[in-house]
Symmetry: C2
Subunit: 210 residues, 2 copies
DNA sequence: CAAATTTACTTAACAATGTAAATAATCCTA
DNA sequence: TAGGATTATTTACATTGTTAAGTAAATTTG
């Protein structure tokens, strides 16, 4: 049916309009400044129209959350070129930190805010994006173990640890908890990268004897 | 003057009443369920009375935030007994994780939520509690370096790294991001402790040759 | 001790928020 | 073109933080 098909398309277009407006507010003014009324203003519809396309506000945020994972994935395209798994792990960490520091609002939604996870549980859906990212991390860590860069052991446990480390850095940084450690803002990213260096060097066993 | 003195005391008592009520709501129902009106209900005053004792809602949260650091500090009393600095570092991590997992709302306020930090900047005050905690961490790390447990280097950078690691674990856990890694809730704390073990073992150079 | 003033508190109100129900406009089909 | 379905808007409500104005009691002052 050509007509219902076109309708579907229109519906999707307005959905996209809403998401775009939300994202604009979201990235420019931050999480808590995204209101239904502001979104409605931007797309030039009445506030309640938004509810014809999304169940509620959290539903919108959940979609942005997904979009964030897509963005992050795109930024990781350069990883495939790196043969050495430890170097790749290092680069993954760098990319992760870089993404978090340049897209703090997205990072917030993806890894800090509670709302999207509630939606995820409520929708009981798959969340393939996140799981895929985890999968890539675990695979790289496993490869590091096989090739003698990391102590052999539970690759999932080590992956969790690596993730925790970089997440700790980023989330402390964007929530302004590192001011005592790093008073100058422009030093933040360099210091974080140094910290990552230290971490990778410490877990790397490839240069050790006995 | 006995009268103004008594008045001061009363004023402080009501402040405490407000803080206690806030804390009750806060720990029992969580951050976003603390409203001025609910606080007022609990202490049986009108909502606006709260504003006679605190500048605004964030001011209340800031005071709870401080209280959290005090609590955490009290829970660290057992650290002084530990002579071995690496063991002490390990125990610090364990305590940190334990505190976060048993007082998620406090942890949220102390290390995740943005509001208290805004207040801190606005009040431009000292935040001795937090700084003292950092100081203890750095001192322990430095001692680990001196005694040959950790690679010699920038103790502050390593401290930042250690903190980031445990903060990453706790904040991912309490924001429900570890469900893919650790599906069973009761396994969460054990796995986190395992992760900490792995971390400490990896940074410990005391057993290595060359 | 009476008048004036300060203090402690409440009532009323405002503006912003998410969201639901009722209503209107538009569109498609018979 | 009439009528039902879809899409949008208007109204409305409850909740939020917060301010301004009002009031009664306590305290100070003459």
């Amino acid at each position: 049916m050509g007509i219902t098909e076109r309708k579907e398309k229109q519906k999707l277009e307005i959905r996209k309009l809403i998401l775009d407006a939300s994202m604009k507010l979201f990235t420019e003014e931050g999480f808590e400044h995204v209101t239904i009324r502001k979104i409605a203003d931007l797309i030039e519809y009445s506030p309640t129209t938004v509810y014809l396309y999304f169940k509620d506000k959290d539903d919108i945020f959940f979609n942005l959350h997904e979009l964030g994972f897509q963005r992050m994935h795109e930024l990781n395209a350069d990883l495939d070129d790196i043969q050495n798994p430890l170097l790749r792990l290092h680069k993954m960490g760098e990319n992760y930190i870089h993404f978090g520091m340049t897209h703090p609002e997205f990072y917030n939604l993806m890894f800090i805010q509670e709302e999207p996870m509630k939606k995820l549980a409520e929708l009981d859906c798959e969340w393939d994006k996140g799981e895929a990212a985890i999968g890539r991390l675990v695979a790289t860590v496993a490869e590091c173990m096989e090739r003698g860069y990391l102590d052999k052991g539970d690759a999932r446990l080590v992956s969790l640890s690596v993730w925790s480390f970089v997440h700790g850095l980023v989330s402390l940084a964007i929530r302004e908890r590192l001011e005592k450690f790093v008073p100058e803002k422009e030093m933040l990213l360099p210091v974080m990268m140094q910290s990552l260096n230290w971490f990778i060097n410490n877990i790397d066993i490839s240069g050790r004897k006995s």
